[in-house]
Symmetry: C3
């Protein structure tokens, strides 16, 4: 399916996206799903997540602020979504930053099938046992994707894709979207995205909406979501910098862009290159 068609399907089908996610960015996550045309449900009680996810079109599991109950909810919802063939997104926030996060990510990867794994470079490398020491929730500098290590990092992402059967999206100055058979680099986005909390979490949930609208084409849907997020970041940064404003304004413009972006601008701005 064409990227533009996927983008329009999110608005046309209004997929219901079940997100089990952290409290830091949960509001922005719900708002970006709504902005893109989906409908978010942020339920995390083990007693109801199977029922909730059964009525949804996609499930997003985000490892920020996990505890025993949250992990239990993720496993229950994940198994149900797997049974129903619903797309499941893993956002391994902080994998590598603590043993708890790394072990939880490994456990979820062992027990569930994912359509998409989305993280920053350190988180993705950590899932392969290769990261430099992750410092907090941001990627370590030595882990970042740049023009020099682009193919090497693409191969690492592709290795994770082969191992898990999931599409793997690596967020950074250059984004990578890797499937077992092909990998694309996306040169959209803006450094301001790293100056607010939640850009990564929002992309994970946005991708949930795209996958919920196009469950048969996880690679194309993931790529379309990564490109859309980058394009929204660019538009928001341009507006913010034109008015000399700061990160508060940027965050508002980012949600604005997600809710008003048209296909013409989406197509015109998207910079995707297949590299593997």
């Amino acid at each position: 399916m064409e990227r533009e068609e996927i983008f329009l399907r999110v608005r046309g089908r209004a997929p219901l996206v079940h997100c089990i996610t952290n409290t830091v960015t949960i509001n922005d996550c719900a708002n970006i799903v709504l902005a893109a045309g989906g409908s978010p449900t942020m339920a995390n009680n083990p007693q109801e997540v199977e029922e909730i996810t059964g009525r949804c079109d996609a499930l997003v599991l985000n490892l920020g602020q996990i505890d025993g109950e949250r992990v239990k909810a993720m496993l229950l919802a994940g198994r149900r979504a797997n049974e129903l063939g619903h797309p499941v997104v893993l956002d391994p926030v902080g994998a590598g930053a603590s043993r708890l996060r790394s072990e939880t990510a490994a456990r979820l990867l062992g027990e569930l099938r994912f359509s998409l794994i989305r993280g920053n470079a350190s988180e993705i490398l950590s899932l392969l046992g290769k990261s430099e020491a992750t410092r907090g929730v941001d990627a370590a500098e030595g882990d970042l994707v740049c023009e020099e290590n682009l193919r090497e990092r693409a191969r690492a992402a592709q290795a994770l894709a082969e191992k898990t059967g999931a599409v793997v999206a690596v967020s950074g100055a250059i984004d990578l979207v890797a499937g077992a058979e092909k990998t694309a680099a996306v040169r959209n986005g803006h450094p301001m995205m790293a100056r607010i909390t939640g850009s990564g979490c929002m992309l994970g949930c946005l991708a949930g909406a795209f996958l919920g609208a196009c469950p048969q084409e996880p690679f194309e849907a993931s790529l379309a979501a990564v490109a859309a997020m980058g394009v929204c970041g660019e538009i928001a940064a341009e507006k913010t910098l034109q008015s000399g404003a700061g990160t508060g304004t940027f965050r508002m413009h980012l949600l604005d862009a997600a809710s008003t972006l048209g296909t013409a601008e989406y197509n015109r701005r998207t910079r995707v290159e297949y590299i593997l």
Copy 2:
């Protein structure tokens, strides 16, 4: 009391509103209470909620993201507020969307007395055992209030009001505010309100502030709050659309409107019709 007088009392009395609510929209809820002139306290630990609610003027119980501890806190705080004669608002988020939510709503309705029950059409119908299958946290299309089913839906809301002794507010394109003896339709608001998360939760907490300022007149206070929220939504949507902006900007303007709305504009815009 005149609607305008109630509106001014919120600013004059600065009611303390105790909210036990979900993490998705908790920040917006606190901010709209502050914007309207109240003071929010978002305490949810069973060990302190009785003490906290005892010092407040109103209590709001919102069923988004409930767990055992949260429900325990709601029951403790609710009983204390009932003993003290403080207004208590129930926002049955997701009633009908999972058994847990429906059963919890039923339990709270069985054990506590509410001044106001506020929900979308599906949630309210679900409390009466009449909803179509609720899909997530948004109202099912077949449940929505429109000109054609207005009187029928008003009678349903009134039935719940009679059964519970609470005022019942149904949010949607047309809002209903039903008491045992009279029901009003409020034709304020804007579709953009459904494109951000939290419009409903915010109204529940805003109504808590209005009821806390005017505990003797729950119907009039609830109606004044529903009208105020709708008017703020209209103003925010007009400003947003004038500038070609999106849902991020709309959310900001909504809080702006709540903090700057004057009585003249409030009166001029309010469109209330008694229908039963």
Copy 3:
């Protein structure tokens, strides 16, 4: 160190700030740390907080919405930070408003060493056993710092500083920053800061970033943070009032100011007076 130099160090060193805080304002807290140039990690699981805090530069403990697990996490993280000599900030939200909050504040003060205690006048007086009954999370009117009681309140803050070894910052129309040996009044800020939720919590986390960048000079770093927050509040209020906007816009401008403030404006606006 000069205040300006401290301010620049936050951007230069990008301190990692570990915050254990409430869900009401957690997003704003993370965003203001990022805006100032730091990097926030909002981890609160007892299983990982020691590891997380060990990799960070400062720790902030905020008592909003505490439960047993959160307090356990605070004690574990606090002890680890104390062992490593990392700055630890206490924000005793609601101390005096419930027995649970007061007892938890007392317990943390008994078991941990703090670099900074930041609260409103009622919270700080409550830690000294001297507050009027705190009503919710806002300071009681009789507790507020004003020109008439400035020296008396400064002596109270200094008494807490002597007793605990921490710098004590009292937020209000006039802010106080008290060390065992000197106390400054800061006449920056704007009343609009009290009309949004989170101004206090944000200052606590911002101070964590300043202390993380300058751990050797807790008094100067705390003072620099208090002044920076006040200056950002002033700038945000001026922009908001110029455009006739409300509290939603103010909140956005506050984060904008934190992310764009330059040293020239910071120096020009800062109004610090040593009073003890």
